[in-house]
C-alpha cells in the first residue's frame, strides 16, 4: 500500500501501543537547550532515573546567550546560571554539548543540520516549537514540553498519537524579490494560525522541488505558526548533497546504503492524504504581518483589512491587534515607520539569508533613525559569513554585527525592543511582547524586506528599494 513519509517514519519508530491507545514512539534524535531542559534533568534526579541513550541527545545553548558579550561570566547572572546548569547536566550524563567555546554553538535548529545530525526518515524531538525546521530533511520533527524532555532522556520514547497529513503543494516559480518566507507567511494567512491543528504538513510541488534546503527550512520552521506541530519536505538529491560530508553524516562505506534508506522514506506516488491544498507561486507577493498573530498578514502593496470585512471572532483579534500595533484598519502598511530591524533567528538566520541581503546592501546605508542588527544563527554561519566578507558589507551599511543566538526573536537575552518600538523582523512570531517590550511591535517579513526597512526607515517594498 502506498504510504506517506509520515506513516513510514511513524511505523519504523513505533515501539508498541500503550494502554491508553497512544503509540510509544522511539525518538531517534533528541536536541536540548538551556531553557526547557534544566527542569527535566531535575525530574530525572528526583525519580532516580538515568539518561537511557545519551549518544542520541545533543545540546547547545541559544536562547539566553548575549550576542554582544562573548566573555563569561555574563553580566546577567541568571544567563550564567542557565549555561552552567546545561554544562553540568551534559557532563553528568555524557551528552555532547556544542558549547560557546567550540565554534559550533548556535540556534539548536541550525546546529542539527550543520552537523549532519538531522537526517531523513528519523524522528527528532526538542523542547522547542520550531523543531519542525528539521522536517526540511524529511524527518518527523516536532516540539515537546519539558516533562516530555524528561521522557525522552529517561526512555528515548514519547507517548504520542499519530497526526493526519495535509499535503500543501506550491507550484511554479516565485517572482524576483519573493522568498520562502513569503511562501510560509502566505500559507499561514490562507489556512489560518489554527488550521494545522492535528496535522503534519507535507510541503511539496515544483516550488519546493526547486528550493534549497535552507529555503525548505524557512518554511518548515514556521509550521507551528500555522498550528501544525510538524512539517516536512520529502528527501531528494538536494537533501543528500546537503548532508554529505557533514561531521555526523554517514561515512564512505555507509553512504550509499544511507541514501537508499533515506530515499525509501519519501511519500509513495498514489498515497492517501487527509487533505490537500494547492497554491500557485506566482500568486505570492512579498508578505508582511500587521497584527499580533502570524496569520494577520497582507501583501506589501495591500491595505490592512477593514474591520467590517472580518468575521466576529477574527474581528475581535483584529481590534486587539490594531490597538497594540497602533495601526489603522483599511490603510496601507507600506510607509509605516520602523525603529529597529532584526535580521536573524532559526527562520532566517542562515548563510543563504545573509548572502542574499548582502548582495543588495553594498553601497547602501541604514537610515539614521533605525537601529539594525544582524545575528547569524550559528557560529559556523558567522565564521562562513566573515570568510566571505559579508560582515564588512553589513557593518559598512550600518548594521551591528553580532554573535550567534536566538537574540531578538524572543528577547531572553539583552537584545530587546524598548517601549513601543516597531521592529521589522525576519523572525517567526509577532505576538504581543514577544521581542522583550510589553508594548513593542513586530512586523514579520523576509530578510530582504528587513534590509529595505532598515535603509528607508519604513515598512516598504524591497523590490522597489533594491530594483529587484
Amino acid at each position: 500500500m502506498a504510504k506517506t513519509l509520515f506513516q513510514k517514519v511513524w511505523e519504523a519508530h513505533t515501539v508498541r501501543k500503550l494502554p491508553n491507545g497512544q503509540t510509544q514512539l522511539f525518538i531517534g534524535t533528541h536536541l536540548i537547550h538551556e531553557v526547557t531542559s534544566p527542569q527535566a534533568f531535575g525530574m530525572l534526579r528526583d525519580l532516580g532515573l538515568k539518561v537511557k541513550y545519551p549518544q542520541r541527545t545533543f545540546a547547545t545553548v541559544d536562547h539566553i546567550v548575549p550576542t554582544n558579550e562573548l566573555k563569561e561570566p555574563y553580566s546577567d547572572p541568571i544567563a550564567q546560571e542557565m549555561i552552567e546548569a546545561l554544562r553540568k547536566n551534559t557532563k553528568d550524563y555524557g551528552i555532547r554539548f556544542f558549547d560557546t567555546t567550540t565554534g559550533t554553538q548556535g540556534i539548536v535548529h541550525m546546529v542539527g543540520p550543520e552537523q549532519g545530525i538531522t537526517q531523513p526518515g528519523t524522528t527528532i524531538a526538542c523542547g522547542d516549537s520550531h523543531t519542525a525546521t528539521h522536517g526540511a530533511f524529511g524527518a518527523i520533527a516536532f516540539g515537546i514540553g519539558t516533562t516530555q524532555v524528561r521522557d525522552v532522556l529517561a526512555t528515548q520514547t514519547l507517548a504520542l498519537s499519530p497526526l493526519k497529513v495535509r499535503r500543501i503543494e506550491v507550484n511554479g516559480k516565485l517572482a524576483p524579490g519573493v522568498y520562502a518566507k513569503d511562501v510560509i507567511l502566505h500559507i499561514i494567512r490562507v489556512l489560518g494560525v489554527n488550521g494545522g491543528i492535528g496535522y503534519a504538513y507535507e510541503y511539496a510541488g515544483t516550488t519546493f522541488d526547486g528550493f534549497s534546503l535552507e529555503e525548505r527550512m524557512t518554511v518548515c520552521n514556521m509550521s507551528i505558526e500555522g498550528g501544525a506541530r510538524c512539517g516536512y519536505v520529502n528527501p531528494d538529491q538536494k537533501t543528500f548533497d546537503y548532508i554529505k560530508g557533514k561531521p555526523y553524516a554517514p561515512k564512505a562505506a555507509d553512504w550509499d546504503a544511507a541514501v537508499a534508506r533515506w530515499a525509501s522514506f519519501a511519500s509513495d506516488a498514489g498515497c492517501q492524504y487527509d487533505d490537500i491544498k494547492v497554491f500557485k507561486a506566482e500568486d505570492i507577493r512579498p508578505t508582511v504581518t500587521w497584527g499580533i498573530t502570524p496569520g494577520q498578514a497582507v501583501f506589501i502593496d495591500e491595505k490592512m483589512p477593514a474591520l467590517e470585512t472580518l468575521n466576529a471572532a477574527d474581528r475581535q483579534t483584529a481590534e486587539d491587534a490594531y490597538a497594540h500595533m497602533k495601526l489603522a484598519p483599511n490603510t496601507p502598511i507600506k510607509g509605516t515607520k520602523v525603529d529597529v530591524c532584526f535580521l536573524g533567528s532559526c527562520t532566517n538566520g542562515r548563510i543563504s539569508d545573509l548572502r542574499e541581503v548582502a548582495k543588495y546592501l553594498k553601497g547602501r546605508k541604514v537610515s539614521p533613525s533605525v537601529k539594525a542588527i544582524v545575528v547569524p544563527g550559528s557560529q559556523l554561519t558567522a565564521i562562513q559569513a566573515v570568510h566571505e566578507g559579508l560582515d564588512k558589507i553589513y557593518i559598512e551599511a550600518g548594521f551591528e554585527w553580532r554573535g550567534a543566538g536566538c537574540s531578538m526573536c524572543l528577547a531572553m537575552n539583552p537584545d530587546k525592543l524598548v517601549g513601543d518600538q516597531l521592529c521589522a523582523s525576519s523572525s517567526n512570531r509577532n505576538f504581543k511582547g514577544r521581542q522583550g517590550s510589553q508594548t513593542g511591535r513586530t512586523v514579520l517579513m523576509s530578510p530582504l524586506m528587513v534590509a529595505a526597512a532598515a535603509i528607508t526607515g519604513q515598512v516598504t517594498d524591497a523590490r522597489e528599494v533594491f530594483k529587484v
Partner: protein, 206 residues
C-alpha cells in the same frame, strides 16, 4: 508511581476570552530565565495584567474571582479557540496550574499546550462554539456557582446547564485511570525500546 484518578474537577471558574492566546502572553519569555518551575504562578499573564507603568490593567486575572481561585488552588479557566498557541514552553501550563487552575474549557487548544497540560493532570475539554459562548456567559453572570468538568462523562455543567464536551480519547483514558503522566508506561517498555532501536539503521552520534 501512583497518580490520582482525575475524573472530575468541580471548582469556581474564570472566563479569559479571546482566540489565539499564545504562550508568550500566558508567560512572557523573561520569566523563562530560570532552572525550575517554582514561582511561575504569580507571573501568569503578567503583561496582560500589569501595564508598562506597573499599574494593573483591566484583565480577568486581576479580578476577585481570580484571587478566589488562587486561594483555593482549584479553578476552571474558560478560554476561546487555539488557546496556548506558539511556543512549546511547559512554563505556560505550569504557571496557570501553579496559580490555581486545575482544568481548562475552550473551543480548541494548541497541541503542545494540550499535551503539556494533560501530563500535569490538568484536563483541557472542548465545547462547540455555541455551547462555549453559553458557558462563558454563564460563568461571568454566576461567579459563585461552581463549574463541573466531568472527564469521565465528557460534560461541562454549571447550575442547571450541561454541555457536551470533548477531549482526545487517550488523554481522557490517562486522566480517569490515573495514568496521565506516561513515564511509568514508557519505562515498562524498555526491552521493546531496545528492540526498536536495534532495528533502526541509524544511530545519531556514531
Amino acid at each position: 508511581m501512583s497518580l490520582a484518578k482525575i475524573t472530575q474537577v468541580k471548582a469556581l471558574a474564570l472566563a479569559v476570552p479571546g482566540d489565539d492566546i499564545d504562550t508568550d502572553r500566558i508567560i512572557p519569555a523573561r520569566f523563562l530565565r530560570c532552572v525550575t518551575f517554582d514561582g511561575l504562578g504569580e507571573h501568569a499573564f503578567r503583561d496582560e495584567r500589569t501595564g508598562p507603568d506597573g499599574k494593573e490593567r483591566p484583565h480577568p486575572m486581576n479580578s476577585a474571582q481570580a484571587a478566589r481561585i488562587a486561594a483555593a488552588k482549584q479553578g476552571v479557566m474558560v478560554v476561546g479557540f487555539n488557546f496556548g498557541c506558539g511556543s512549546s514552553r511547559e512554563h505556560a501550563p505550569q504557571s496557570l496550574w501553579r496559580y490555581g487552575f486545575t482544568a481548562f474549557v475552550g473551543g480548541s487548544f494548541a497541541e503542545i499546550f494540550f499535551g503539556n497540560s494533560t501530563t500535569l493532570g490538568v484536563p483541557c475539554l472542548t465545547l462547540s462554539k455555541e455551547d462555549l459562548a453559553e458557558c462563558d456567559a454563564f460563568v461571568r453572570a454566576n461567579p459563585d456557582v461552581e463549574v463541573t468538568v466531568d472527564v469521565e462523562k465528557l460534560t461541562v455543567s454549571a447550575g442547571a446547564k450541561t454541555w457536551k464536551a470533548g477531549i482526545a480519547a487517550s488523554a481522557r483514558d490517562g486522566l480517569v485511570n490515573g495514568k496521565w503522566d506516561p513515564i511509568a508506561d514508557l519505562l515498562e517498555g524498555t526491552d521493546a525500546v531496545a528492540k526498536t532501536a536495534g532495528g533502526l539503521a541509524y544511530v545519531a552520534g556514531k
